[in-house]
């Protein structure tokens, strides 16, 4: 492979270079943009059933109510709620309840606009599902997963939902059912969901003490999904345990050390330290 160097600037048509002013970030308003292009400040309206309602003061005192059907809204122009990133971190840290507290208001706020461009409902709902999965409320998880599957939010979200259902099956000891769902995910889902499905497959094999099978599942993450860094700690922990079970102590410790060195602040690193006395 000897590619050209398309990533380098070239001095061809660079008259544009002269203008040097940087773009100042615009202050982000919270607005609903109507299909006719008119914006509505979120602060000026309230949400009623199927409508946004604006109170317009009337000259003689009091106010007149103006309604905007939700179907007339083209997109949302809201800044991304910071709580989403915080909740993401909490989920990664295994703090599902705390994450849910942050997520629920956002999930509810954007629910009426779930499919609109600029809505943060999908991310909130997906994180909510992940947070629920940290707990044991099976019916809530099932309902959240089904909601996402029916939301038409794209293959990544649908894959996450299917994976949640597979996890529930796995928890209930229905490995064959879980495997059917996993097969489906591996055929259809995006790489990030596929990678998580492999992790689940590894967990299922590990539970059966099928160490070689578990290793082949866990090690798919570094081998085929090396760019998905957030899954690496779980893969390395699983691999370390499976190597140990397989009887390859050297590789087990190397996986454990890789986890501790590269992801020192993760739950998995703490766990592996404990399990391997490192």
């Amino acid at each position: 492979m000897s590619p050209r160097r398309p990533y380098l600037f070239a001095f061809g048509p660079l008259t544009w270079l002269f203008a040097v002013l940087a773009l100042a970030p615009a202050a982000h308003a919270q607005r609903y943009i109507l299909k006719n292009g008119n914006p509505l400040n979120a602060a000026d309206v309230t949400l009623a059933s199927g409508f946004l309602v604006q109170q317009i003061p009337s000259p003689g005192g009091g106010s007149v109510e103006k309604r905007f059907p939700l179907a007339d809204i083209a997109r949302l122009d809201f800044p991304e709620p910071e709580a989403l990133d915080t909740a993401d971190d909490l989920v990664a840290a295994g703090k599902g309840d705390e994450a849910l507290q942050l997520l629920l208001p956002i999930y509810r706020q954007f629910a009426p606009f779930a499919k609109l461009p600029g809505s943060y409902w999908a991310r909130a709902a997906e994180l909510r599902l992940k947070a629920l999965l940290l707990g044991t409320d099976g019916p809530a998880i099932t309902s959240a997963a089904r909601e996402l599957m029916q939301s038409g939010q794209g293959s990544d979200i649908v894959g996450t939902a299917k994976l949640a259902l597979a996890q529930l099956d796995a928890r209930a000891g229905k490995e064959s059912l879980a495997n059917i769902m996993i097969e489906e995910i591996l055929r259809e889902a995006t790489p990030s969901v596929q990678a998580r499905a492999w992790l689940l497959r590894g967990d299922l094999a590990a539970k059966r003490a099928a160490h070689a099978e578990a290793l082949e599942a866990y090690l798919r993450i570094p081998a085929f999904f090396g760019t998905i860094d957030e899954l690496m700690p779980a893969a390395l922990l699983g691999a370390a345990r499976a190597y140990k079970g397989y009887g390859d102590r050297g590789r087990a410790e190397r996986s454990a050390m890789e986890l501790i060195d590269n992801y020192p602040t993760t739950l998995q690193a703490a766990q592996v330290k404990k399990e391997f006395n490192l």
Binding site: M1, P3, R4, R5, P6, Y7, L8, F9, F11, P13, L14, T15, W16, L17, F18, A19, V20, L21, A22, L23, P191, R208, A209, A210, H211, A212, L215, E216, L219, R220, P222, A223, F224, G226, T227, K244, G245, Y246, G247, D248, R249, R251, R254
Partner: protein
């Protein structure tokens, strides 16, 4: 006069405080006095052209105004030469008259008292104009002058770095980019600059720096629009690192590369986002200068990203290449499992890629490195089938042979070696392969064949690199075949030809051993003594020679000297086998000389000095035996329990169970009956159990669950020794219910699992078996776990899972205790899977093993009969019959199999048309009333009248028929 302001504000380019009205006024005022156009008019016209977006017209006027101003003509109020030059430079740049723009920019520098901000802007214009005329080196200098400007610093650094790169001043470019990245805001320009810097580092061979910047960039992926370019750079970096031998770095680089489809999808997504952003700006009614700049930048970035995408789309072999690179670097970094996954994927999904052959070879290596020996053989077979003439063939087979050797599967090892030597006779590895083959044959005790190979080797490679080994191996093969004299001749010849040879110490040892074998103990002792005198103490065979010397001294009836020699042997390094031999021989000698205390002292010292050695268990065993023999069971128990208590709390010390069994057998042994005294009443179980508790549980161990479980285990063993199976199972059940699997050592886990299986509680048993293989995979009892799980899988009808478990019991756990069960389990699993040939071979192995003679043999023979029966040819039916008959004739104790065999035997006779014999068999079956409990009895009862109806007419003399037994239910 104060002039009104321009209604549109001052132009961004020509910031002159003049309005058209003022201009016209001035014109009228001066008209007719001066023949030339007044400067003010020209200035106004120039501004008009600029406002009307006619920059080409404007520059002509501006040039004229500047000339007149430089000639000394006064400029209108508010207009300065500095501003004129600045505007002219800018406008010339705009119409791409870069030479003139640069000239004006340089002229502006010479204007006295020019402001810093104007100067910086002028230098930027000059620098860019120079760069666009490809005068990069001059541009670099110009941009460097602007680096102090707060307003233009970032751009000056960026364009300076770009110019330096174009000028071939790579170090300057790198330095400039580094300064830019260190101080400027992290935006999309920053990311572009970082990408360029990586490329420059790579071009300059600064691989470590390239790696550092790339990993920095990876942490800011959201800023990178040209993700395809980033991936291509990562690949290039990985290649450079791999070439430099930095496989860890290469692996890190390759792991960051996305697969082609994912990359294309991601780049398209980013391009769409760029296009969307672009369309937002281009759709603006009145874009500001800032907006216009943004549009230009977005356009350029989009163009670059599309170009990168186009490149990636053209690279059809991208994924296969990436897979191979990843696999190779994983492999080199010890990631054999990951490498195997990647090679498998490459082989399966990219069949036409040029990396296929390498991938097959890599796969063999990966499985061998991962010690996945079962897979190595399969991988070699697949490789040889796919690339029968591959130049890597011999290497692959060599690796496979090595792997099989490590697995101690010498049969497979020999197959690989034979394939390699037959198929690739002239390969570079030919010598190594032949010698390894000879070694393998030797290991398989096929000494004559080994000798044939080494003789062939010596003929083919008389001066070969392994000729010394070949000659020595030939001598050893003769020795092993009992051709001692031929061997001695060869050893002597070897010693003559290779006086400093590798095997000289061993050769001299063998000569001494040969003398011992010929019972020439004197010569043997002399040769040993000479050996010991000639070689220094650090010679690794010294302990072995002392041991042989001791053996010879025993042969010479010099037990005292032999004891000294054995003791000396103990002070040198010995293999575990040799150590065990010497300790046992010393124990035997001490016992024969009634020096019991010496033997006990030796073992006690051993246990104290080497507390973690596996022979500590032997120590406890011998101490117990000797003291018991002396009639000192209490002392025996005290000493063995002392050693036991040392490890009793640790579930990972699986060998403690052997001591527990010894304790149980000593406790359970009935007391000696003195002559003339009546046989004492048996001691109640509970008394013995209490004794066991006292021995195992002390203050230090009493509260420990593992120790408690072990105490119960001793009780179960006592019950078993006293033939109280119910009590034994009750106690094992108690262990199962009282202790979590992770508190139990593997030996007890296995026994508890087996007891639960016997009680038909496979689901509960499964937990105990799983704990063994999860927590104690290296334990000597690991085969309990695999076999137990295999049997559970068989119960569930899952032949594949069962086969995997039984294979693991042998291949992974070494089947120390459950080889028979594992082998018969494999046979049952193969039968379940319908693989009759494989099942037959295994059942034959079981049936042919004298040590396993018993129920396993009966089962194996019966199943061999079943396999033959299923083939249904007369010859196979006869074979089946022979198997069934062997069961009921030779294995009468095993009722379930005998009942089955009788019934099948009768049915087989019937199939062969021998109805009378079938009837006789049924009648013989009925003569064993104890078999009535088995279901085959009822089937036989039903079969009998059918046979009787078809039996040929009775001869003239009636024969008394055995009475038909009544059915069990009547």
């Amino acid at each position: 006069m104060t002039l009104p302001r321009h209604p549109n504000g001052s132009s961004s380019r020509l910031r002159l405080p003049l309005t058209l009205a003022a201009f016209v006024f001035a014109c009228v005022h001066v008209h007719g006095q001066v023949p030339t156009i007044p400067l003010a008019n020209q200035v106004a016209e120039a501004e008009q052209n600029l406002t009307a977006k006619r920059p080409a017209d404007a520059v002509v006027l501006l040039d004229e105004i500047i000339k007149r101003a430089q000639a000394g003509e006064a400029l209108p109020a508010g207009v300065t030469l500095e501003k004129l030059l600045q505007t002219a430079a800018n406008t010339n740049f705009q119409i791409q008259k870069y030479d003139r723009a640069a000239e004006l920019g340089l002229a502006l520098e010479k204007v006295p008292g020019v402001g810093a901000s104007v100067l910086a802007e002028a230098r930027m214009i000059t620098g860019l104009a120079l760069a666009l005329q490809q005068k990069y080196a001059e541009a670099v200098l110009m941009f460097q002058k602007v680096e102090d400007s707060k307003t233009y610093r970032d751009k000056a650094l960026l364009y300076g770095a770009m110019s330096a790169a174009q000028a071939g001043q790579i170090p300057v470019a790198i330095d400039t980019y580094n300064r830019m990245l260190a101080t400027s805001a992290r935006d999309r320009d920053w990311a572009d600059a970082a990408l360029s810097l990586v490329d420059l580092h790579l071009r300059a061979g600064n691989i470590a720096d390239a790696r550092r910047v790339l990993s920095f960039l990876r942490g800011n992926l959201a800023l990178v629009d040209n993700i395809a370019g980033l991936n291509i750079l990562s690949l290039t970096l990985g290649d450079a690192l791999m070439k430099a031998g930095d496989n860890a770095g290469a692996l890190a680089a390759f792991r960051n590369v996305t697969t082609r489809d994912a990359l294309i999808a991601e780049q398209k997504k980013r391009n769409v986002a760029l296009e969307r952003a672009l369309s937002r700006y281009t759709g603006m009614q009145r874009p500001s200068a800032t907006d216009a700049d943004t549009i230009r930048r977005l356009n350029a970035r989009l163009e670059q990203a599309k170009s990168s995408l186009e490149q990636v789309e053209k690279l059809t072999g991208y994924d296969a290449t990436l897979r191979y690179r990843l696999a190779f670097t994983f492999q080199e970094r010890g990631g054999a499992w990951e490498a195997a996954l990647l090679f498998e994927d490459l082989i399966a999904n990219y069949p036409d890629s040029p990396e296929q052959e390498n991938a097959y070879f890599g796969l063999v290596r990966a499985y061998a490195d991962a010690a996945r020996f079962d897979k190595v053989g399969q991988a070699v077979d697949r490789f040889v089938r796919a690339f029968p003439n591959s130049k890597f063939g011999p290497q692959a087979l060599y690796l496979a042979a090595m792997a099989a050797g490590q697995r101690q599967d010498t049969g497979a090892q020999l197959n690989f070696l034979s394939l390699a030597t037959d198929k690739f006779p002239g390969s570079d590895l030919g010598e190594s392969l032949q010698l390894m083959k000879a070694n393998t044959l030797f290991t398989l005790n096929r000494y004559n064949e080994a000798k044939t190979v080494v003789v062939g080797y010596a003929k083919e490679f008389p001066t070969g690199k392994f000729i010394e080994e070949a000659r020595y191996l030939s001598a050893m093969a003769d020795l092993a075949e009992g051709r001692a004299s031929e061997s001695e001749v060869q050893i002597q010849a070897y010693l003559k030809d290779y006086p400093e040879g590798r095997f000289v110490p061993d050769a001299r040892y063998r000569l001494a051993a040969a003398a011992y074998a010929k019972q020439d103990f004197k010569l043997s002792a002399e040769l040993c003594a000479k050996w010991l005198a000639d070689y220094p103490p650090e010679q690794p065979q010294r302990g072995e020679i002392y041991s042989l010397n001791a053996d010879a001294l025993v042969g010479l009836d010099r037990a005292g000297d032999a004891i000294i020699a054995y003791q000396k042997a103990l002070s040198f390094t010995l293999s575990d086998d040799q150590l065990g031999y010497v300790l046992d021989e010393l124990t035997r000698l001490y016992q024969s000389r009634k020096e019991f205390d010496a033997a006990v002292t030796m073992w006690s010292q051993f246990a104290a000095e080497r507390p973690d050695h596996p022979f500590v268990i032997n120590a406890a065993y011998w101490i117990s035996r000797i003291r018991t023999r002396e009639g000192k069971p209490d002392e025996a128990l005290e000493m063995v329990s002392q050693i036991t208590r040392r490890y009793v709390k640790d579930p990972s010390r699986g060998d403690v169970e052997r001591l527990l069994i010894e304790i149980a057998s000593t406790i359970a042994r009935p007391p000696r009956v003195k002559k003339g005294e009546p046989k004492p009443a048996p001691i109640p179980d509970q008394v013995l159990f209490d004794r066991a508790n006292q021995l195992i549980l002390d203050n230090n161990t009493r509260s420990n669950p593992t120790a408690q479980a072990r105490s119960l285990f001793v009780q179960a063993e006592i019950a078993s020794l006293r033939k109280n199976e119910a009590k034994k199972n009750e106690i094992l059940g108690k262990i199962a219910s009282k202790f979590a699997p992770d508190q139990l050592p593997p030996g007890i886990l296995g026994k508890v699992g087996d007891a639960l299986m016997a009680q038909r509680q496979p689901e509960l048993a499964k937990k105990f078996y799983q704990e063994i293989i999860t927590a104690h995979p290296r334990s000597i009892f690991a085969d309990y776990g695999y076999v137990g799980l295999g049997e559970i899988a068989l119960l569930k009808g899952d032949g594949n899972d069962a086969l995997g478990r039984f294979n693991a019991a042998i291949d992974v756990a070494g089947a120390r205790f459950k080889l028979k069960e594992a082998t018969i389990g494999r046979a049952r699993a193969q039968l379940l899977n319908g693989r009759l040939e494989a099942a037959k071979a295994l059942f034959e192995e079981v049936a042919g093993n004298r040590n396993w003679r018993g129920e396993a043999t009966a089962e194996a023979l019966y199943n061999l009969g079943e396999i033959s029966l299923s083939r249904n040819t007369p010859e196979d039916l006869a074979k089946a019959q022979a198997h069934y008959q062997r069961v009921y004739l030779s294995y009468k104790r095993y009722g379930p199999w005998v009942a089955k065999a009788y019934l099948r035997s009768a049915e087989t006779f019937d199939k062969l048309g021998q109805v009378q014999e079938a009837l006789t068999t049924i009648n013989r079956f009925f003569s064993f009333r104890e078999l009535e409990q088995y279901p085959e009895w009822k089937q036989a009862v039903a079969l009998k009248p059918q046979l009787e109806a078809r039996v040929p007419a009775a001869p003239a003399t009636p024969v008394a028929r055995p009475a038909t037994p009544a059915p069990a239910s009547t």
